[in-house]
Symmetry: C2
Amino acid sequence: MQPTQLTATAPRVLARDLGSVTPGERVALAGWIHRRRVLAHVTFLVLRDRSGLAQVVVKDPAVVEQLAGLPEETVVSVTGTATANASAPGGAELVEPEVTALTEPAVAPPTELWRPTFGAGLPTHLDHAAVTLRHPRHRAAWQIASASMRGFRSALGALEFTEIATPKLVGTATESGSTVFTVDYFGRTAYLAQSPQLYKQMLVGVFERVFEVGPVFRAEPHDTVRHLAQYTSLDAELGFVRDHRDVLAVLREAIAGMVDAIGAEASEAVALLGVDLPRVPDEFPVIHFRDALAMVGADPDEPDLSPAHERQLSEWARAAHGSDFLAVEGYPMAKRPFYTHPQGPPPPECAPDDPRREVGRYSNSFDLLFRGLELTTGGQRLHRPSDYAAALERTGTDPAVLGGYLDAFAHGMPPHGGFAIGLERWVARLTGAENVREVALFPRDLNRLAP
Amino acid sequence: MQPTQLTATAPRVLARDLGSVTPGERVALAGWIHRRRVLAHVTFLVLRDRSGLAQVVVKDPAVVEQLAGLPEETVVSVTGTATANASAPGGAELVEPEVTALTEPAVAPPTELWRPTFGAGLPTHLDHAAVTLRHPRHRAAWQIASASMRGFRSALGALEFTEIATPKLVGTATESGSTVFTVDYFGRTAYLAQSPQLYKQMLVGVFERVFEVGPVFRAEPHDTVRHLAQYTSLDAELGFVRDHRDVLAVLREAIAGMVDAIGAEASEAVALLGVDLPRVPDEFPVIHFRDALAMVGADPDEPDLSPAHERQLSEWARAAHGSDFLAVEGYPMAKRPFYTHPQGPPPPECAPDDPRREVGRYSNSFDLLFRGLELTTGGQRLHRPSDYAAALERTGTDPAVLGGYLDAFAHGMPPHGGFAIGLERWVARLTGAENVREVALFPRDLNRLAP
């Protein structure tokens, strides 16, 4: 496809390509007026398009006067003569410009978007996201998110995973009744899916290896910096695993793919935000949950790790393994969902006090910690119908509400497992954002349903 | 990552790779028992994995007896000796097998999945989708869907579109109040997004070119073969267009990318289902809505095309242009949403009876017909704030309900447009499925919320 030509007089070039234009050639830029700098004898117009910024030098008094009526964020096309200038962005600028407004003069944003640091607080940003997302730092955060999705898919595609699209409207709230949204479904009650868990498992029966990148919904009643009512979940599930360690190996590939894609496709965003991209080790270091409790000095009967424990363990992984990632395996069955596979029988060589000896207490599940924060939960799932029957009885779950899900197991399912990565949490951790809302497009929470 | 090894005695190979194994080598297959054929002196076991089918020859009476207790769909690993056999799938088979069941014996599916034609009706399929999706014809239809998504993203990625993820929970029902699902949102009423339309437009202001592949929701009160309550929408939107023809050019690239990806990555599915992949012309043929009405002999005041008209027009495009695709442009403004851009002033060279002369009546929008059916709706949108003010007044829409959306235009938006392709409808048309439910994973409709 030819580049879009918006003016009759010259072809459009992108800001980043201005340096490649033969000096003296007439070309058109098109974009948003990022900034006007009016000096005594010259006005600099900085134009922003999807590729970056370009500088336009305005000396003609008529054009200077025209620009006085075209505030920042007005969309214009600018036809001018490309000129080399080592001090301009990209080593080139446009001179002798004719400016055409492509819309009406813009209303001023709630904070000046041309300033390198975003000058307003989070509530202002979220209230005015339609315009404040244009700030280069906000754009950059999402470019990292976008590259992450691409990298996730590409890594799993290379491992022969099939992309799926599962129902977001479901008939039963399976994972936790208290945090689910209810929908009026043609007069019946439906729920918004909290995860594609049950569907991705069923589809392992069809495709062996599946992934989905899509929205999940949590009616999270607490206003925290880590939770959203809707977020993007990067889900994968695969069959024919020996145990959760095979799942962890695929998670490693997925994260390596995400990091590679960010480095390759969002390098300017990485530089702008000062992101320190993690090195992904060939294998994630793994610690057993019981050993993790011991290491942080917690009661061995604690059923979970606290945020402080997670930070402490991450510091240890950094010091002992040089790794930003640490997998904690063997979380107690009591704290995991009904489909969780228990830890297998202990291998013969393990020591008498090895936690793998305590059959039924621990699970074949893991959390992946990344720089002090839980990033991913995953593990092996039950696959035998009789194990499901026992688990449902143990957890007091009515098999009737699971309907077709249990069918999959009755009709033959392989040993399998999977994981889910929260996209916004990943990007927040990478960019150092304190609040996950800073890196979501139009986040949803307890108080926010617009814009 | 190394291939998963499920047995201690031999590495796992996929069915399609059995022909590449050195004859005489011991290897393991793992998968579902697709079929057992018990003859007098030999039993053939056909095993299915994600890559296809493989044949196992069983002569040992003990293994024959073991197989009698392992019905079709039971998941097993089979270690055996690879042997060349020109009449086996892939030119090789496994002999002298040891069979290990990886789960309990499977319950029989509602219809035999090994038969080349799916032997049950649509309701049976949908009720038992967790197992009937395993039928090779159902798998194949989704593999075409999956390749289509990949091709869509890859074509738009190459054109520098940024992937976005927009809210599915929205505060106002903007497009049509009658077909929207309501959600209890922390005690308030929210709606499920019918499309990412308003968000993708706002994000053109941020990234210029955006796309999203995600679920959209329609509380469709009619039980038709074309509509689902949730479907996967392939959405794109781009700025700095001259008019809808630039949008159509990008749609052409997206569809070409989808067709290429299907050909490259789902060729077995294409062959199995006998799909005749369309040739995508360099430019879609275009006919104006008024000329289309005249061609099918309809009243010139008709506001829309009927399904019969669409079929008739598609036949004409095939005969006159050799094209499976036909764009109809210039639909009447009266039938299009408030954000639709009207047709521009007529170019000076056009004839006195050219429909482009009727300013304000027609729009810069289009439908793309594919083999007789509307596949895509797209067009140019309004971008000037004053045009929105006028459109909202004309259509009686309260600006307050649109909140942040209108902000985007006040703060500067370029001329832009976009389109949306319904994934399931595309796959149904390609595969010749009469009902869109045949090609969706776990479809949702008026009557169906499970599995």
